[in-house]
């Protein structure tokens, strides 16, 4: 349990660090270049990790549907947009608006897929998030 929470806590910080570092690179180059570098460096490191640990190609990836390979290209847009936004509206607003989008679309997906869960809790969560979004203050820039 403690280990799970530590892992989760670290994962959140790594996400924040990732946005901040890529945002800094985007400032001096461009957000798309930052996204490219992020993916290339990640690819090289994960290749090394795969070579060291092994098991990279042990699954049956050939059986996955073609669209499962679109996650990477979507990630490019994701990193580029967050690198573009973070120097403009700040880390807090970037983070909370992206979390909002993630939660709202997650609820929409759960409802569309008829996933079990309390509708009232979902609606209350959505209402709080929407209120939060509307309360974000615009930056004087």
């Amino acid at each position: 349990m403690i280990l799970a929470l530590t892992f989760a806590a670290m994962s959140g910080i790594l996400v924040g660090l990732n946005r901040q570092i890529n945002g800094r690179l985007g400032l001096s180059t461009s957000p798309m270049f930052a996204s490219f570098t992020n993916h290339l460096v990640g690819f090289v490191l994960l290749s090394l990790a795969g070579a060291a640990i092994g098991g990279l190609l042990s699954g049956d990836a050939l059986n996955s549907p073609w669209y499962a390979y679109l996650g990477g290209p979507i990630g490019v847009i994701f990193v580029a947009t967050s690198s573009w936004l973070i120097p403009r509206i700040g880390a807090v607003q970037t983070t909370m608006l992206m979390i909002s989008g993630q939660m709202l679309s997650g609820v929409a997906l759960d409802i569309a897929r008829d996933a079990p869960g309390s509708l009232w809790a979902r609606l209350l969560g959505v209402a709080l998030i929407m209120t939060g979004i509307l309360m974000t203050r615009k930056r004087a820039r």
Partner: protein, 164 residues
């Protein structure tokens, strides 16, 4: 930026951030589908590899369209410090971390809420002190209200809106 008035820029930023958050749901869905077949490491490795290829294609496309790729975005004259090129490292470490967590059976509902909270706390520190070379953002107490509402709303959805 100068072509847009403040209100238009505001709507653009909001839409971009919330819209990208929606894309994240789709991305995680696709990546977990790939991970279901090929494993977590394979899925992330593939996502980074295909992502790098698509990004370089987009960079070349932007370059042919407007001369220098994205240089209009630049507003820091200083060159990027060496560590700014290592953003991909945090992503790779995160993948290793989460696949380890899944392998030892730590996929709990609560972990997502904890990760969102530390992500939020990190962003507060990042803005407060201008961490890692990004501009400092002045934070007032009233800026914490939307944070509180969004974190609470997310926690309700994570804990009560889904059956485990």
């Amino acid at each position: 930026m100068h072509l847009l008035d403040v209100r238009q820029a505001r709507v653009l930023h909001l839409a971009a951030a919330v819209g990208t958050g929606c894309l994240l749901t789709l991305m995680l869905l696709l990546n977990s589908e790939l991970a279901r077949h090929g494993g977590a490491l394979f899925a992330s490795w593939t996502a980074h590899g295909t992502g790098a290829l698509v990004a370089i294609a987009l960079l070349l496309l932007l370059a042919t369209r407007s001369g220098a790729p994205g240089q209009s975005f630049r507003y820091s004259a200083a060159p990027a410090p060496w560590w700014a090129y290592l953003g991909g490292m945090t992503g790779a470490v995160n993948v290793m971390l989460s696949s380890t967590a899944v392998n030892i059976g730590l996929a709990l509902t609560g972990t997502q809420a904890v990760a969102l909270s530390t992500q939020m706390l990190f962003s507060l520190a990042a803005d407060r002190w201008g961490l890692l070379g990004l501009p400092r953002q002045r934070l007032a107490w009233r800026d914490l209200w939307p944070v509180l509402l969004i974190v609470t709303g997310s926690a309700i959805i994570i804990f009560a809106g889904r059956d485990p």
